[in-house]
């Protein structure tokens, strides 16, 4: 459709733009930056020591000197059998962490035979509709010896229950389990869309998983509070951090309501963000977020234990900051973002492949993504000393500015009536849509420069050709066949008994549902059955459609 330039002349439009010759003066979040920052402009020059409150300079006294960040890459497609084979290959090669992607029916709580699910079975991840599939997925893999990360939200409690049931079946004590479930429903309502139940019972379910995990799987991360998806949907770095901290506070309030001890559960809360291209804004986003989280927990909840005040986070470098136009340039973008993540003190880093904006990465591009991290870690020298940018007038000034702006975002949500109300009313969703619209307009108009896309194009350039998820129709048929066989062979009375017990417990507002969900899993009740049972008590989220 578009020819040599997105900025081509059109009737009634501004003439074709010249490439800019000067940098912009404001950050993408709209913070106007002076040409020079001096010592007197810094509000909080004394940042204390890394590993000490308020953790501006990092949560560990020795930074990466003690231990480098975790290099975590994402994989897992197709059926449980195929994924199992892939996992065993990776484990043999020395990888210790698995990352499980699940298909949309599993994420949204539908069994593979559901009419709405049929065309999406096994498409963007593995179909995990019942314990039998989980047993295949972890066949001959000792779950006490690996850390497993599940990208799962709406049905996180069920998948976590299934993982506990796998441990039971393998004879592994639950306290040995390590890994993470994303389990952050609030951002699903706003940006990612795999919500199932209304907001309040969803929060209760999350509190159930965290409280249960504190007791039974103390080395497991029962939540990863994510800003990444709202960021990718369109909001700024400031809003990404602001919304995420606000969501974190909402989970804390629910956990306290349920009788949780904040000193204890706060130690297991972790966070997840995108790193986009504005280097210093990203670095300062993390420094400010870390400081603000410790302050909020101290001031609002009187938390004393430094371990409970530590802001631990993982990041993805890439996402919507990668572009299809002249895609090789994305290697540079990911490299810069990777450095920002390290300067910001991330605990784990995922680097996207340069072609990920438009296709499933090739072996070639996936290898470059990992090598980027190794080059940053071992050649660049930036991991050598803790918080190497600390004390820079500009970095400390911008950290102050970011903290102020992030605080304003949290205050605005609270003035509206809190996150729950903001989501139920669709207020937050609308704000993000408007912000996304603004971002798109700025790119279209040329105010935001994207090299190779709206400036610095050349004739016949590579625009990236999309080759997306191709469903293997036989894989889907195999999943459905296995599912039907399971329903014929399991003990129906036991399924009915465990589902009835779950239903009864869900009718109360305080009983922890995790033991009931684990019982259901052991009886080979399906994800769809468990979700339907809970829907019968709680109903479904009614999406507020506002434009």
């Amino acid at each position: 459709m578009s020819d040599s330039s997105a900025a081509e002349n059109k009737p009634g439009e501004t003439p074709r733009r010249e490439p800019p010759t000067k940098p912009s003066t404001a950050t993408p979040s709209g913070i106007e930056v002076p040409p020079i920052v001096t010592a007197d402009m810094v509000r909080t020059p004394d940042q204390g020591m890394p590993g000490e409150l308020p953790f501006t300079r990092g949560i560990f006294p020795d930074g990466y000197r003690g231990r480098l960040w975790t290099i975590r890459q994402y994989s897992g497609f197709g059926t449980a059998e195929e994924s199992n084979e892939r996992y065993r290959f990776l484990l043999e090669k020395g990888q210790t962490g698995l990352s499980v992607a699940l298909d949309l029916p599993t994420q949204c709580g539908y069994d593979p035979v559901d009419p709405i699910a049929k065309s999406e079975v096994g498409k963007v991840g593995v179909s995990l509709s019942n314990l039998a599939e989980a047993e295949i997925l972890f066949d001959e893999i000792d779950v006490s010896g690996i850390s497993t990360s599940f990208t799962i939200n709406g049905t996180a409690s069920i998948i976590y229950a299934m993982y506990c049931a796998v441990a039971d079946k393998q004879g592994v004590p639950r306290e040995k389990l390590t890994g993470t479930i994303q389990n952050d429903i609030l951002k699903e309502y706003v940006a990612r869309g795999t919500w199932i139940f209304p907001v309040r019972p969803s929060l209760r379910l999350i509190a159930d998983t965290i409280l249960f995990s504190n007791e039974q799987t103390p080395r497991f991360n029962p939540i990863s509070i994510a800003g990444a998806h709202v960021r990718d949907a369109g909001c700024t770095a400031v809003e990404e951090m602001g919304y995420t901290l606000a969501n974190g506070l909402a989970y804390i309030d629910e956990l306290i309501r349920r009788g949780g001890d904040v000193e204890k559960f706060a130690r297991r809360l972790s966070f997840f963000f995108y790193v986009h291209m504005d280097f210093f804004e990203e670095v300062c986003k993390f420094r400010a977020g870390r400081r603000l989280w410790a302050k909020l927990l101290t001031e609002r909840y009187g938390v004393k234990d430094p371990k409970a005040l530590m802001f631990r986070f993982g990041v993805v470098c890439g996402g919507s900051s990668l572009v299809g136009a002249q895609p090789d340039n994305n290697v540079v973008r990911v490299g810069i973002e990777n450095m920002a993540a390290v300067m910001g003190g991330a605990q784990s880093i995922f680097t996207a492949a340069f072609d990920e904006a438009y296709q499933i990465p090739t072996e070639h591009s996936a290898e470059i993504a990992v090598r980027t991290q190794q080059i940053v870690a071992h050649e660049s020298g930036i991991a050598r000393t803790v918080d190497p940018l600390g004390g820079s007038y500009y970095v400390e000034w911008l950290t102050d500015q970011m903290e102020d702006e992030i605080t304003k975002v949290i205050d605005e949500i609270e003035a509206y009536g809190g996150v729950t109300k903001a989501v139920e009313d669709g207020w937050l969703q609308l704000k993000i849509a408007q912000r996304a619209s603004e971002r798109k307009r700025k790119v279209d108009s040329g105010e935001t420069v994207i090299v190779g896309q709206n400036y610095f194009r050349r004739e016949d350039q590579n625009e990236g050709v999309a080759e997306l998820f191709k469903l293997d129709p036989q894989a889907s048929a195999r999943v459905i066949e296995k599912f039907e066989r399971l329903r014929d062979t399991r003990d129906d009375a036991e399924v009915a008994r465990t589902l009835a017990a779950l239903e009864k417990a869900a009718a109360t507002d305080t009983e922890n549902l995790m033991p009931y969900l684990i019982d259901c899993c052991h009886a080979y009740a399906t994800v769809g059955e468990m979700v339907s049972t809970l829907k019968s008590q709680w109903g479904e989220f009614e999406e507020p459609v506002r434009l």
Partner: protein, 132 residues
């Protein structure tokens, strides 16, 4: 030229929850004068066709990022025809590989829009199609 008086339904078929593109387009079409209705997530082609008829729209825009565009476009077109509404114009937006464009056009899509296109270009294409 504007879209004054035109009614457009923006819809998300399937389970994919990425709706930012759909909302950006909805806002842009509204700014251009159209009456825009958005279905929300996880709608079946049958539901979308029925809303299109009930709301008496001139066009339906499907937003699809899951890779299931061929099935969903064909199915939506079939449902519209079943309701004698084959004259409603169908557009598709999302992550659509260029190699699939011809097939979608044959299935009845009158415009295919991807993320790189400017909002002005998308609105202009819809105008050119609906306003004659």
């Amino acid at each position: 030229m504007s879209l004054n008086g035109k009614r457009i339904l923006i819809a998300k078929p399937g389970l994919d929850g990425h709706d930012v593109g759909a909302k950006i387009i909805a806002l842009a079409l509204r700014d251009a004068g159209a009456d825009v209705i958005y279905t929300g997530l996880r709608r079946s082609p049958d539901y979308i066709a029925r809303v299109a008829v009930d709301e008496d729209v001139d066009a339906v825009g499907l937003s699809i990022l899951s890779g299931s565009h061929k099935e969903l476009v064909e199915e939506t077109m079939r449902c519209l025809k079943e309701l004698d509404a084959g004259d409603i114009h169908l557009f598709v937006g999302g992550t659509i590989p260029s190699e699939d464009h011809d097939e979608l056009v044959q299935a009845g899509a009158r415009g295919i829009f991807t993320a790189e296109m400017s909002l002005n270009d998308v609105v202009a294409a819809v105008e050119a199609d609906l306003v004659t």
